[in-house]
Symmetry: C2
Subunit: 270 residues, 2 copies
């Protein structure tokens, strides 16, 4: 497997007990600072790399407490409680002693049990090959790291200020170049949906995710089966009110299995 | 206003800088230990009571790391970063030095901005007066602290093992006796939906929420307008797989405004 920019971006070095050091990657830069999804992924990676880690991810919540500056950062990842089947983590991402992000994670050993889907995978999606790759020119660097193929709810180019009745998007998405899906890349993809207010208003505004929660439904076997093919993503908002809106998204395998669901609150200005 | 059991259950005493002491309340007991919603509420209350608190709740994530025993507990609530409009908190609930819950919260000062609903309030709900109050006999104490009136998806009595095609519930719910809605009681109501697997399978199984995230869309004016009348709750699951399922819920005002949306991952055994 050739070296992938994603792996370089989430690379961490051990820096003592419960501590890791890393650095932002220009390849995953956003308008200002790094793409939130790569921060989500590198916090996930700190737990994945931790020698005391037990089991696979069930949930990860990342709070974006302040701007992440381009450059070095440190992550503290601490297993605060390990039970027979679950393990609870608290994390902080700091730069020069200032907290840029806090996080909590739940990992667990799963057992084979009665299982059912309840939500349905989006129906009627055209095949990947029938949809053009979304343009990335003029977009931040991170957007060029994804191959996105929209069936609905693409970012308008240019913005025309025509308010839409809803903000639903459906698309095929994968890392670009292709990379086998794992928990870290899935965590990043969960934040790869453009802010819903851009889809709804078709107008620019300053925005920033303040908190992002991701639930992992896939086990490692399902991720391996997905390989490096496109996953199906869908996103929407429930409500925009007085500086904040929410955004929910689902990531489905191309075989129709729910891999992750994710929810965030986003700050906006007019 | 008469003393309400809810206020007694979330009561905290200052126990030093960033520290509070409280105790579980038999009035909000679950099958084992306290109702998760009251733990959600008391953690919210620690931030609300903190002298450095700025603004209103935007998001609260509580991780149920281990069982909460009946009796005394201590909460540490620490403002890890205060920005111009947002404030980020980390919390821990401990009993005799053992971590029973971790949490993070985001508070913020909101501004008047462009605002829109996107999700619709459930349509066609019968008025509160047209629905009977759900029975509470044989239920844990906490369930008796709520007046629930189901339009759909009530807990089957008795369980008959008839698996249902989905787990959607819609109901009117308020504190019993009535109590004016505030952020703490809204946080508790967000966890008052019975575990979706009980609705789906109509069969008992050991369950436990491992993580609960709540987004607050309401400002304090909207909560005051709601007063002590029933709010409209709706809940569903996306997926049940190998020991875990997710559960999402929305709380709407009786005037059709989204007050809160909430998402949890729940452990289950067969």
């Amino acid at each position: 497997l050739a070296h992938h920019e994603f792996d370089a971006a989430i690379e961490l070095a051990s820096a003592g007990e419960h501590r890791f050091s890393g650095a932002t990657s220009p390849a995953y830069a956003n308008m200002v600072g790094p793409f939130g999804g790569i921060t989500n992924a590198v916090l996930m990676n700190a737990v994945l790399m931790h020698p005391q880690r037990q089991g696979d991810p069930i949930a990860l919540t990342v709070n974006f407490a302040g701007p992440v500056a381009d450059g070095a950062f440190e992550i503290e990842a601490r297993p605060v409680r390990t039970n027979r089947s679950t393990q609870h983590w608290t994390l902080q991402l700091t730069q020069q002693g200032s907290v840029a992000a806090t996080a909590t994670a739940v990992f667990a050993l799963r057992r084979d049990t009665w299982s059912r889907g309840e939500a349905l995978a989006p129906q009627g999606m055209p095949p990947v090959s029938a949809l053009p790759r979304a343009a990335t020119s003029g977009r931040p660097a991170w957007a060029q790291r994804y191959d996105m193929r929209f069936d609905e709810g693409e970012l308008a180019v240019p913005f025309d200020g025509q308010e839409q009745p809803h903000s639903v998007s459906r698309l095929w998405v994968r890392d670009e170049p292709p990379r086998p899906l794992d928990y870290a890349s899935l965590a990043a993809i969960c934040d790869s949906f453009f802010p819903r207010i851009f889809i709804r208003r078709r107008a620019p505004s300053p925005v920033g995710t303040v908190t992002l929660t991701t639930f992992f439904h896939a086990d490692s076997v399902m991720l391996a089966e997905q390989g490096d093919r496109h996953v199906l993503g869908t996103a929407r908002a429930l409500n925009y009110r007085n500086s904040y809106f929410d955004q929910s998204a689902e990531i489905w395998s191309d075989g129709g299995q729910l891999l992750a669901s994710t929810h965030q609150m986003v700050y906006f200005r007019e």
